[in-house]
Symmetry: C2
Subunit: 298 residues, 2 copies
DNA sequence: AGAGGTTACGGGCAGCGTAAGGATC
DNA sequence: GATCCTTACGCTGCCCGTAACCTCT
């Protein structure tokens, strides 16, 4: 009589305060959402939303239904996670990923998940950590592999792996003798992660204390661009050595043996702990395992 | 993904231990049930029922799904009862009714319910109380208006009304002077409810003590037949006067003023207290009110 | 004028019922 | 052979997506 799909649609319309966002979230068209909510109201014989306003506020009776809708959506998520064998999970998970991970073990992760859960689609959005926070909050992402630690309430966080930050330079750019001398290195621009990220802020603070001035920094949101810039000798990259292992192996880049005491980059899998918990948990554990394997293989 | 309808179907298949009974219960065809369960198994990738046996036993994983299915069905029933305005309830309730009630206030009840809940269909099965018990147990009925009191565990029971039992005879069959004399009356066969019912057993016990022999009793499961027999002078009916008020009014029958101290017939609305509770509760209350109104109008 | 929601319409597909086909007692 | 479930098949009706329309800022 009352379809669970309709309740799910209604739930997300309210949760996201928008028909179109709900449509997007549910991988359907906005008219489809409109129709379902309309049909629901018609079947019940009263309005659920105070529509004229843009905010999709609930009516009193809508509130009652919403509470039930939430219970249904939760129960459904719980059931599906427990009852459906992994190979039969048919869903789309929207995953935010830091570029660093894209360049290391993400391919292995995607392949691994695909082989175990062939009907699971992973939509990958590459972005920087602060923006992924926002996307998680807006429920545009189901999970993110990003820089940790995360201690937001309402989020579950599984540590993945850590990458020590290394200075990486074009081969021959820095003379053998100067490779542990920060002053020499700091004559070159430092290419690293964009503002609002740990590497940049920490670097600026530490280096400026040593060389008594602000280092030149090329902040860049694209890891591959950073690598390219380093390979072109434009500057020296402060990035995990792991992402350039091939370039180091074939001699294009070299890792400088200098240690400023920077914290390694720690990545975590983060997801809101509710509703789809279980699948995210499985994926997070899988990611952790893949990341460990990756480290071992190096 | 997993439809609540499929869960409902699966739930009833297990609960009733039969595909065909589930189909009947859900007002659908048996192949439809078969398909839904089949589709469910296919989607999940494993079997839910150990089919070859006639008993529809659950597999281990089927058991897990069944627990969820039950939660869904309960939640759905709860939600629909709270959220759907009475006028929009679209369901079929299978109601067992004692014939006595059919002849008194059932028409008013049906009409009253129909006017308030035009989309509610009531399937009425007229039967005697002991058989309605069985039907309730087998879940062939959702609710029954029958003789009380009921104290079975697992059943909810709402008192409706009481009918004092009266001796009713064809006009002139018993002389004015003898109308309070049980010995005279007992020369005629007593027409009343069938065996296993209170009126018959109580009558037999009380009368036999007075007249020192077994009275002749015509036990009959059909109230209208009883009335007809009384009107034909075949015997004297022991029934509620209410059911023959018209015949008394137009002079075909008359009520004898004799009191053997028989308990009045007490009717109750009985339904298993689970799942569809709420609707049954509403209907039971409605029935009670109609029954009271009926009594007032007399 | 543009974003966001509704209405209109055509097509695809899931799910139903009828009917025929096994399997098991 | 009777009962119960499964398979086959045609059909209906729902629901979706595209597109045009409305409405409020």
């Amino acid at each position: 009589m009352i379809d669970i799909r309709s309740l799910e649609v209604f739930y997300w319309v309210v949760e996201l305060r928008s028909f179109s966002r709900a449509a997007h979230r549910l991988n359907t068209s906005q008219p489809a959402v409109s129709q379902r909510v309309g049909a629901l109201e018609q079947r019940l014989g009263y309005e659920l939303l105070m529509r004229p306003t843009r905010t999709c506020r609930l009516t009193d009776r809508g509130r009652i239904l919403f509470d039930y809708a939430e219970q249904f959506v939760r129960l459904q998520a719980k059931m599906e996670s427990e009852v459906i064998s992994p190979g039969n999970v048919r869903r789309t998970v929207r995953l935010g990923v830091s570029e660093t991970i894209v360049h290391t073990w993400l391919p292995a992760f995607v392949e691994g998940v695909h082989s175990e859960m062939p009907n699971l689609t992973i939509d990958i959005m590459v972005d920087i950590t602060p923006r992924m926070y926002v996307s998680l909050e807006a429920k545009e992402l189901d999970m993110a592999f990003m820089l940790g630690p995360v201690s937001e309430p309402g989020y579950q966080s599984v540590p993945l792996n850590s990458y020590p930050l290394s200075f990486v330079a074009k081969r021959g750019l820095i003379a053998e003798a100067d490779r542990n001398d920060i002053r020499t290195i700091a004559r070159h621009p430092i290419i690293t992660y964009p503002r609002e990220t740990y590497p940049l802020t920490a670097l600026r603070e530490i280096v400026s204390k040593i060389i008594m001035r602000q280092p030149r920094i090329f902040a860049n949101a694209s890891l591959s661009t950073m690598v390219k810039m380093a390979k072109d000798g434009i500057g020296i990259a402060l990035i995990p050595a792991e992402v350039v292992q091939e370039d180091v192996a074939d001699g294009a880049l070299e890792v400088l043996d200098i240690d400023l005491g920077l914290r390694p980059l720690t990545f975590v899998a983060t997801y809101p702990h509710e509703l789809d918990d279980h699948l995210c948990e499985i994926l997070a554990r899988k990611a952790r395992k893949i990341a460990e394997d990756y480290k071992m293989r190096l």
